[in-house]
Symmetry: C2
Subunit: 233 residues, 2 copies
DNA sequence: AATGTTTTTATGTGCATACATATTCACCTG
DNA sequence: CAGGTGAATATGTATGCACATAAAAACATT
């Protein structure tokens, strides 16, 4: 029973992963406690702790004080999506990025918008629409409302060359956000902007960004047919 | 300049977050090193390390040895989606879960499937189609191919009452998976199963699960119109 | 049996220290 | 000046120890 040196937390983690995967420890099973594992692996308890904590964070282990550590029965796969600036997203795929502002101006928003952003119904917000291009073809249509009460500087911007997407990241701090993915059929105008048939199935990302209790911006991104959002898990 | 006790890593993290958010440390800025921060906060370096490492994991800080720690210029928002078993997903929304198997049998898969799964083109796979219901209304259509070479036990299952979704999680180990989200227009048969109009925009999740180098299963989930996948960031 | 109290136990965290490792930066050499 | 070399430095991690904390389990009390 030579223990081939599990002296760093990565290798401890690998070994634990191996045992889970090899079903030596089955889903739902209680695994040995940290002290015993440290003894077996010939390392410090804190090293084992680091490894197990990391696995718990990624959802493979369930840990509770006194109750011990067990293999998650039905691991909730955690797909981590990287929502980057659209320009980066396009360039990372090796395509040329392009940007066209469509329109921009202060407007009283629809009730659905002021409601979601919790602003007064008669309070005008900055509305910006723009098209993101990849290799000169339409990539995504951005429809955004900006709370000028929170980001007054946005009023001085026309978003002609810099997308609101990027400008806001640089100028508007935020604490958290809600994001939702869905599918919708292209309306006539949307279809014409994205140069796709009317009623095409579009991939949608809705994002609402908050600075503590105040909504900063609400954006809807419509992606042309065939768009895929991929990740690993 | 009283330092009101930053003696645990959470409060250190909160304070760092506050400074980033208050723009005392702006995007791109280099922040003080761990030793200095530990001194300022009156705690051990390892405590500061824990706090900063955690922030780096969530993408708010960029850390490099010797180069130091800086506030991420354009934070890549990491949206973590929890992809649970569909039954749990439905029940968590407080709705009644239902399940109907549509069909199930060994079949030679289309080339697109055998190609993606890297199985021989003439190798039959187990094909299962099923409908998931929420409050007796169609919720998601599951179309799945199972590699019986990897999960031979699946042949003994008819998936009449237990969904392949759940059965596999319990019986088939896997190491990793690819997942993709997109939108598609409902074909005639899909529309009829989901009882929605033909050509409706459906939300799609495609998942391909691997056990090391062998594909375990490939599944396509079609969600009815109006479905949203939400998360926080 | 129902309820409240104490003990036990596994994880969670903090600290001081030491050493590892990746980079940068300054310096040296041809 | 180009290019290589080595010192300096910030983060990364392992260790041993101590104590905190949650929660189960054992025990006592009514």
């Amino acid at each position: 029973m030579n223990s081939p040196s599990f002296r760093n937390w990565q290798s401890v983690q690998d070994e634990v992963l191996r045992r889970i995967h090899a079903r030596e420890w089955k889903p739902g099973d209680l695994i040995p406690n940290e002290v015993d594992l440290a003894l077996e692996f010939g390392c410090a308890r804190s090293t084992v702790n680091r490894a197990l904590r990391s696995l718990a964070e990624s959802g493979l282990l369930d840990r509770r004080r006194k109750a011990g550590t067990r293999v998650t029965a039905q691991p909730v796969a955690k797909a981590t999506l990287d929502i980057a600036v659209i320009r980066h997203e396009v360039e990372e795929r090796g395509r040329k990025y392009g940007y066209q502002r469509i329109d921009c101006g202060l407007k009283i928003p629809p009730l659905a918008i002021s409601g979601a952003m919790q602003t007064d119904a008669d309070n005008p917000l900055l509305h910006v629409r723009a098209l993101h291009l990849a290799d000169d073809a339409p990539y995504a249509l951005e429809d955004r409302w900006i709370n000028t009460g929170v980001v007054p500087d946005a009023l001085d911007e026309a978003f002609q060359t810099v997308s609101a997407n990027e400008w806001l990241l640089k100028h508007a701090p935020y604490t958290h956000g809600d994001i939702a993915f869905s599918a919708t059929a292209a309306l006539a105008e949307e279809a014409s902007i994205l140069s796709c048939p009317k009623q095409s199935a579009l991939f949608v990302i809705d994002r609402l960004t908050w600075d503590n209790t105040q909504a900063v911006t609400k954006v809807r991104l419509l992606f042309g047919p065939g768009h895929h959002l991929r990740t690993r898990l």
